[in-house]
């Protein structure tokens, strides 16, 4: 009876230890993956021209990326994960701002050209009359 109890206890302990180990392993893997995803987000934002069009967000994203890498190197996976998530959020915002700024500039330019065309049209119609 006691032996079976002991065996059961040992099994529970072993399972717990195993769980703890897997927890440790799974704690490491997502942090690495998160940092990689954030790196890709920063790269996307950069290629969208965010460095010039949304410099503040871009600066913040890069800084957090660097700190996430540092945390990863220090095996501080929780911090690495948090910083990677923030860097990703910053990079996505930087990219959105860059895209918005380009679209707005295009719209403004078109509006200006329409104004010019309309003025020309009005001038021509007044000279005809």
């Amino acid at each position: 009876m006691t032996t079976t109890l002991h065996r059961q206890l040992a099994m529970i302990c072993g399972a717990a230890a195993l769980l703890g180990l897997t927890a440790c392993a799974s704690n490491k893997t997502p942090a690495t993956a998160d940092v990689a995803v954030s790196r890709a987000a920063v790269a996307n934002a950069t290629s969208a021209g965010a460095a010039e069009l949304a410099p503040a967000e871009m600066q913040s994203a890069r800084e957090k990326m660097a700190r996430a890498n540092q945390a990863l190197a220090n095996k501080d996976y929780k911090t690495a994960q948090d910083l990677a998530a923030q860097a990703q959020a910053d990079a996505q915002l930087a990219q959105s701002k860059a895209n918005t700024s380009k679209a707005t500039a295009a719209a403004d330019e078109l509006q200006q050209s329409i104004r010019t065309l309309r003025e020309e049209l009005n001038r021509n119609s007044t000279t005809t009359q």
């Binding site: 910053d90 329409i114 065309l117």
Partner: protein, 302 residues
């Protein structure tokens, strides 16, 4: 007792820790300033119709992120943990706003493209209208020029035929071109002897003369009367004057304006023949009509 004391002592830190934990729990705020800011950003995005229309996916992601931050606040997690989640939510809300703004700008671009096409169409229409108007104007101008040319040709032809007719009439009157103008001589036979009245033949000649004068409104005439040397010179002068007057009256009667016809009697002066025989004397009895053309004054006889 000693054991009890030991037990008490060992319990003390636990109690302390538990009480500290409770205190920490009770002082843990339901919100943080970051979360407050995020919630306010969220309600701004929520009341922006463009976000709902243009960035539903991004807005959903932001709402989910805010839910997580709110849940952390409800569970009274650490300020740091709440702020981390709130920050992510805040950035996602900003992304949703940016995406909405971008889509609006893109639709403005599409709209502007349509407007530009419309204006260009208007310009083409305007140019075409203008071209049509100027073509019509050019045609009208050409028509007017042609009509003018035709009129000019017609009037030139008319002028020519009029002038030809006039030349013919002057030829009929045996007009002679002299340096004083055209001179038409009405011979004695056109007057009854010693009378100033025109004979029927004289009247026909006067009629021709009047036709010429009526056709040539700018011309004027001087009618000069002459006699032969028979009779007193006073009588001859008076007779020559009367004959000239008679022609003038005939012309006025035929419609010629009085101020265009002047008269002068010279009597037996300026003979054209010798007065030695009847034939010569007949040549001297005459009336000469000097026709000035184009309003030129008639020089006096010297």
């Amino acid at each position: 007792m000693k054991q009890l004391n030991l037990k008490k002592l060992s319990i003390m830190p636990t109690v302390l820790a538990v009480s500290m934990l409770l205190a920490a729990c009770s002082t843990t705020p339901m919100t943080t300033s970051m979360l407050d800011q995020t919630r306010s950003d969220f309600s701004a995005a929520q009341s922006n119709p463009s976000v709902a229309a243009n960035a539903p996916v991004e807005f959903k992601a932001a709402a989910d992120a805010l839910d997580r931050a709110n849940a952390a606040a409800d569970k009274k997690e650490s300020i740091e943990a709440i702020d981390k989640l709130a920050y992510l939510a805040k950035q996602k809300i900003a992304v949703a706003q940016e995406v909405a703004k971008r889509k609006q700008a893109e639709s403005a671009v599409a709209d502007a493209g349509r407007q530009r096409d419309e204006i260009r169409l208007q310009q083409r229409t305007q140019e075409a209208d203008k071209a049509k108007v100027s073509a019509e104007q050019a045609k009208a101008d050409a028509d007017a020029a042609r009509r003018q040319a035709e009129a000019a040709t017609a009037s030139a032809r008319e002028e020519q035929s009029k002038s030809a007719a006039l030349q013919q009439q002057l030829a009929d009157l045996q007009a002679k071109q002299t340096d004083r103008g055209l001179v038409i001589t009405l011979s004695d036979v056109l007057f009854n002897t010693d009378k100033a009245d025109l004979s029927a033949e004289g009247m026909r000649t006067a009629q021709k003369m009047a036709d010429v004068l009526l056709q040539e409104p700018q011309s004027a005439v001087l009618i000069e009367g002459f006699t032969d040397s028979t009779g007193s010179s006073a009588h001859n002068l008076e007779l020559s004057q009367r004959r000239a007057e008679s022609v003038r009256n005939a012309l006025i009667g035929l419609g010629v304006k009085a101020d265009k016809v002047a008269t002068r009697g010279y009597g037996e002066a300026f003979p054209v023949a010798s007065n030695g025989d009847a034939g010569s004397r007949q040549l001297n009895r005459r009336v000469e009509i000097v026709l000035s053309q184009n309003g030129a004054p008639i020089a006096n006889r010297r």
